[in-house]
């Protein structure tokens, strides 16, 4: 093997494995010493086995394989996320294009943006009276902001040169939007979409915990109440892996749409 390929192999696989190993050791050490209630890695695996090895099994409403739970969560996230993008992108365009709109709505957006999902969820419950739409409402609302702000940024960053081309050719507003602004802003928008998806996935856990809906977050909270702490760790790892996977997927899409 050449030196470069050894280095590449080290960077891609060996180093992350070493890092994971170190964390695993610290976890084992912690559970063996001061953290009595923290299940050890081995115990976690033993108790979680069934859920991992039969990932799509449905034994009861709140006793299902981990991937089945994940699937429920993903469906919920998708609904909220799609709503977030469908509202967020046009709002971002308006913010980027219209001074009037920006002046009117930018301040309120800046104020609503940092509000935690835990604060929105009760409001959603009040509004919709049912946990399912309340959860989707919360996901949509919380994950919308990166799409809004990045789209606005992208529209404002469209080089004046491109706009001059549109002006010299006298492109209509609609044509300028679809032929110039949209493609020019697309890379920024995808960054927004990617960040939004990350937040949507972050929010799902909070939403499911509070509403008790079946999903990874709901399962996590239920197992906490049932004192099966091993499953909390299983859920955390699952959430992390799925989030990582989603981010990578969006990263690929982002790269594909990068124009210049």
């Amino acid at each position: 093997m050449s030196k470069e390929s050894v280095e590449r192999w080290l960077g891609a696989l060996a180093l992350p494995l070493i890092g994971a190993g170190v964390v695993l050791l610290m976890w084992a050490a912690a559970s063996a010493t001061f953290a009595e209630n923290l299940p050890s890695p081995v115990k976690t695996w033993e108790v979680s086995r069934l859920y991992v090895l039969e990932p799509f099994e449905k034994r009861g409403e709140l006793d299902q394989g981990i991937l089945r739970f994940t699937w429920y969560s993903l469906q919920r996230v998708t609904q909220g996320y799609v709503i977030a993008i469908l509202i967020g992108a046009p709002v971002g365009f308006l913010l980027g294009m219209s001074k009037l709109f920006r002046g009117s709505f930018d301040p309120i957006i800046q104020i609503l943006r940092p509000v935690s999902p835990l604060a929105w969820l009760p409001l959603g419950l009040v509004l919709f009276q049912k946990p399912e739409p309340a959860g989707i409402f919360t996901i949509a609302l919380c994950s919308m902001w990166p799409t809004v702000l990045n789209t606005a940024l992208g529209v404002r960053a469209v080089p004046q040169d491109y706009l001059n081309v549109a002006r010299v050719l006298r492109l209509s507003r609609q044509k300028t939007l679809f032929k110039i602004l949209l493609p020019a802003a697309l890379p920024y928008m995808f960054t927004g979409f990617r960040l939004s998806l990350g937040i949507a996935w972050l929010v799902i856990v909070a939403a499911e915990m509070l509403t008790g809906a079946p999903g990874v977050g709901g399962f996590l909270w239920q197992e906490y109440n049932a004192l099966i702490y091993e499953h909390i760790i299983l859920c955390i790892l699952t959430i992390g892996l799925v989030g990582f996977g989603l981010d990578r997927l969006m990263g690929l899409a982002e790269k594909r749409f990068r124009t210049a």
Partner: protein, 275 residues
Amino acid sequence: MAILALHDVSKSYGSTHVLSQISLSVEAGEVVVIVGFSGAGKSTLISLLAGLDQPDSGRVSFRGKPVRAPGPERGVVFQNYSLLPWLTAFENVELAVEQVFSHWPKAKRLAQTERFIGMVGLEHARDRKPAQLSGGMRQRVALARALAADPEVLLMDEPLSALDALTRATLQDGLERIARTSGKTIVLVTNDVDEAILLADRIIPLSAGPAATLGPEFLISIPRPRERRALNHSPEFRRVRTQVVDYLLSTKRAPSAERAPLAAALSAITLEPST
């Protein structure tokens, strides 16, 4: 009647007075080249003629009517090409053709696009994105885009200044051919005096900024087609070159004591015959 005219036009950006009381009258079919230092306000001048910008005072008129906005009858070739990076060379030209000749049948529009891509010799690169083209090729696409829209006036903002010397010379010859054969009215700004003489019917120097203003015009009567190598030996070429350069240098602020030797050295170099 002049096809394009500036009457007593001034323009400032913030506290910077860029152009001061500029008057210019361009006749249909002539090639006017504005020569000036970098940063003298040449791009501003083109923006005003194109209608991309409005003067603070004075008037810009096209065929006697005031210019308030850009339009395809005044095609612009931008300094940095301004090609849309998500479209291929062909699509960039097609966008202009589609817009300007929207009443044409599709086949005719495609033929028009083909023709101008061919005219700048880019058939082989028609499906490439701007990022995959060299600087010279990009500028040729930009030129094809402007010409394919069949403008009455072609405004060119230092179209070749970003290119290396060889590519630049090749494209200058291409522009010379276009100026000679298309019959289009052309206003070109450049910082290259040789380029100006190669292309122009009339050269008008723009004095060094701030508050730049147009100097005396120089009519170039060297017969076309003008051949670069022959030009170097032409007495008229040398005479005009010296006069234009002298004028431009004379408009520079009086050099301070320590800068004087440098300015003198520079003018000596510039005036050295290039043979």
